[in-house]
Amino acid sequence: MSKFLNELEANKMLSSYKIPMIKSIACKTKEETVIEAKKMRFPLAMKILSPHIQHKTDAGCVFLNVSSTKEVEENYEKIINNAKSYDKNARIDGVLLQEMATEGLEVIIGMKKDPQFGPVAMVGMGGIYVEVFNDISLRLIPIKKDDAEEMIRETKLYKIIQGARGIKYDMECLVNVILKLSEMVEKQGEIQEIDINPFFLYEEGKGGKGGKGVDALIKLS
C-alpha cells in the first residue's frame, strides 16, 4: 500500500536534502494557528494539511495573502469545513501556515518510478497548467550535472530562464535542485513519487536568492 506524506513532512524531507523549501508551520487548532501567525511576517498563506487532499485549491483549502489575525481565524474555519465537505474520509492533520513566497518563475520538479526504467526525474514549466502546456523533460536517475543542464535546455522553460522576458533566472539553482532530488531518490528507495510544484525560481545574481519550493507531494511505497 502506498501512502502520501503530508505537505509538512514532504517539505521537511526535501529540506533535509538541502532542497530549498518555503518556511512552514503546522497548527492543530485555531488558537495555535493565531499564536504562530503572530510570530510570522504577514501576509501569510494558509492551507489544509492532509495527505489525502492533493488538489487543495480545487477543494477550497488554500488561502493566500492572509494579512491579519482576524483573517487567520476566519480562514481556519473555512479550510477545515471545505476539506471535510470535499472528502469526508480524508485525514486532516491541521492547517499549514506558510510565509508567502516572493513570486518567481514557476517550475515543476518531480520524480516517478517507471515499471521498466525505475526512477525518472522530471523538470518543466510549473503552475496549475502543467498538464496543459506539457513542457517537461525527463531523465533516468542517477543524474549528472550535464544531464540536468541538458534536460532543462530541452524545455521551453529554458528560453525564459535565459531571459526571453528580460529577466534571467538562476539556472544553477535549478540544476542543483535536480541533482539533490536525484541523490535523495537514490538514498531513499521507498520514495515512489515526488512533485514539487510550484518551485519559484528567482532572478540570477542579486545576492543569489536562488529559488524556493512552495508546494510538494511525496508518495512512499
Binding site: D114, P115, Q116, F117, G118, V120, S137, L138, R139, L140, K145, D146, D147, E149, E150, M151, E154
Partner: protein, 485 residues
C-alpha cells in the same frame, strides 16, 4: 550458460534442417544463400526424402553427419520440433558439438497458443540441457559478411560478387520482416550496403539484444550498431548496456511504438512490453543513442556513420549547383536545432568568387553558395575544395542536379580524386546529394564504391548529418567538454 556467440558468426559447418529443392521454400533459399555468399566450410542439408539438396549431399538426420556441426538452422514445420530435438539430443550424447541453433521456423510462443508455447519451451529446455544457444524462433536468420555466413531465407537479388563484402554496420532486428526489407532495400542502392553482422532475433527465446550488443561492443569490425526495437522487458538493463557502448561507437535505434496504438501493436507482436515511449526517448538522449523515425533515416544514418567523418560540430556549409534544391536543403538545415550555417573566412569568399561561374550567388545568405547550372566539373570540385579548407566549416552539404551537359562520369572521377585520393574526406565531413533517380545512378555508384555514401535527396543528407552532430556533441559532453555551446 556458455557464450558460443563466436559460433553464431563463424560456425564450423552448418546443418539445415528442412532444406528443400523447391525454390519456393525457405529451406531452399537458406541453402542457396549459404552457397552464394561463399560459406567456406561445410553445409549439411537435412531432408527426410532427398539425397541431394541444391547439389549438396543431404542427410536423414543430424545424428548421421560424421563431420563436426556447430550450427543447426531449423526451417522445418514447427510441429516437427519434438523429433528434431530428439535428433539433436542423440547427436549431443555422442558428438557433443552443436553450439548454436538458428530457429527460423515460426509458430512458436509468438502465436500465444498453448501448443506454440509448449514447442518453444521444449526447444529451450533441450538446448539448455546441452548448453546450446538459440537465435529465434520466428526469425529470418543471421548474416556475417566477414566469415561469409548467411542463414537467411531472404532473396535480395544482390549480385554474387557483392556478397560477403564486409561493411562496418552490425544490425539487430526484433522484426523479421523489417530485417528482410532492410536487406532488400540495402541491396538495391547504387552500391549495395554491406552489413558486418546482421541478426534477426525473433522471439528472443535465448539470445537477445543484450547478448548481441555486448558482442558487437567488443567486435572490432563493427563501427556502428543499428537496432530495430519494439520493446524489451528490462528497459533499464538495455539502456545500461547501450550506455557502455555509445562512449565507443554510435548506436542508431528505430524504436517503434511511439503512438499508443503502435505500442499496443508492438506488445501483441513480440509479446514484450513496449514501455513508456517518452521514457525511452529521454533515456536515449541521456546516453547518446541516436533515435531515428523512419527506415530511410535509419539506413542513411547508419551508412553515414560507417562511411563519413564524424563532424566536429554543427557548422555546415550548403554548396548547391541549383537554386531550388539549395533552398530546400537550407530549410531542412534550419529545422535542425543543432545545425548552423557559418560565416566563412573572407579569403574563402574571394576564392569562391574567382572559381565559381560568374552568375553564382556566394554567401547570400551566409554559409550558402549557389554555383548554378552553369557549373562544370571543375567548378564543382574546386568550390568544394575551397570550402573544405575553410576553418569555420565542419561539414559540407554538396548538392547537384546533373544536367545533360555535365559529364557525370567525369564528375564522379574528380570527386573521388579530391575526396579519396587527395584525402579531403578525412578533413571534413562531406554529405553528397546527387539528384536524382536512375539518371545519376552510375555516378553515385562510382563514388559509393569508394566507400563514400551518397544521398538520394538533400533532406535525407541533412537528417543523417544532424544525427552525427548529435552523437559528436554527446561524445564531447561525456568526455568532459563543456556542455554549453
Amino acid at each position: 550458460m556458455n557464450n558460443h556467440l563466436d559460433s553464431l558468426f563463424n560456425p564450423e559447418n552448418i546443418a539445415v534442417v528442412g532444406a528443400s529443392n523447391n525454390p519456393l521454400k525457405a529451406g531452399y533459399v537458406i541453402v542457396q544463400n549459404l552457397i552464394n555468399i561463399g560459406y567456406p566450410k561445410k553445409i549439411f542439408p537435412i531432408n527426410i526424402k532427398e539425397d541431394h539438396i541444391c547439389g549438396i549431399k543431404s542427410y536423414r538426420s543430424l545424428y548421421d553427419i560424421e563431420d563436426k556441426v556447430e550450427m543447426v538452422v531449423l526451417i522445418m514445420p514447427a510441429g516437427a520440433i519434438f523429433d528434431v530435438m530428439k535428433d539433436i539430443e542423440n547427436r549431443m550424447k555422442s558428438k557433443n558439438d552443436i553450439k548454436v541453433i538458428v530457429c527460423a521456423s515460426a509458430d512458436f510462443a509468438e502465436t500465444k497458443t498453448p501448443e506454440g508455447i509448449k514447442r518453444q519451451n521444449h526447444l529451450i529446455e533441450i538446448s539448455k540441457k546441452y548448453g546450446i544457444r538459440i537465435v529465434g524462433p520466428n526469425c529470418i536468420g543471421v548474416i556475417d559478411n566477414v566469415n561469409r555466413v548467411d542463414t537467411t531465407f531472404v532473396e535480395t537479388l544482390l549480385p554474387k560478387e557483392s556478397r560477403g563484402k564486409k561493411g562496418g554496420i552490425s544490425f539487430i532486428s526484433q522484426s523479421g520482416a523489417v530485417a528482410a526489407s532492410l536487406l532488400m532495400s540495402g541491396a538495391s542502392q547504387p552500391a549495395p550496403i554491406s552489413f558486418n553482422k546482421f541478426v534477426s532475433i525473433g522471439n528472443m527465446a535465448d539470445i537477445d539484444f543484450i547478448d548481441l550488443l555486448k558482442y558487437f561492443e567488443n567486435d572490432e569490425d563493427t563501427k556502428v550498431i543499428g537496432l530495430y526495437l519494439e520493446g524489451y522487458s528490462d528497459g533499464r538493463r538495455l539502456i545500461n548496456t547501450i550506455a557502455e557502448i555509445t562512449v565507443k561507437k554510435p548506436v542508431v535505434v528505430l524504436k517503434v511504438g511511439r503512438s499508443e496504438k503502435g505500442a499496443s501493436a508492438a506488445s501483441s507482436h513480440t509479446g514484450s512490453l513496449a514501455g513508456s515511449d517518452v521514457v525511452y526517448d529521454s533515456a536515449f538522449k541521456q546516453y547518446g543513442v541516436i533515435r531515428v523515425d523512419t527506415l530511410q533515416e535509419l539506413m542513411d544514418t547508419m551508412q553515414a556513420f560507417d562511411s563519413l567523418k564524424l563532424p566536429d560540430d554543427g557548422n555546415v556549409f550548403v554548396l548547391s549547383q541549383a537554386g531550388g534544391p539549395g533552398i530546400y536543403c537550407t530549410d531542412a538545415v534550419s529545422n535542425q536545432n543543432n545545425l548552423e550555417m557559418p560565416i566563412i573566412e573572407d579569403i574563402t569568399k574571394e576564392k569562391l568568387k574567382e572559381i565559381a561561374p560568374a552568375m553564382s550567388s556566394i554567401c547570400k545568405p551566409e554559409g550558402y553558395a549557389d554555383i548554378t547550372a552553369a557549373a562544370n566539373v571543375r567548378h564543382h570540385v574546386e568550390s568544394l575544395k575551397v570550402i573544405i579548407n575553410d576553418s569555420n566549416v565542419s561539414s559540407v552539404l554538396f548538392i547537384t542536379v546533373v544536367p545533360t551537359f555535365l559529364p557525370q562520369d567525369k564528375l564522379a572521377e574528380k570527386m573521388i580524386d579530391l575526396l579519396e585520393n587527395e584525402g579531403y574526406r578525412n578533413k571534413k565531413s562531406v554529405f553528397i546529394s546527387i539528384m536524382s533517380g536512375n539518371y545519376v545512378w552510375e555516378c553515385r555508384k562510382s563514388i559509393e564504391e569508394k566507400g563514400i555514401y551518397t544521398f538520394a535527396s538533400p533532406d535525407q543528407a541533412v537528417k543523417a548529418l544532424a544525427n552525427m552532430v548529435r552523437y559528436s556533441k554527446y561524445l564531447k559532453r561525456i568526455k568532459g567538454g563543456s556542455a554549453n555551446e
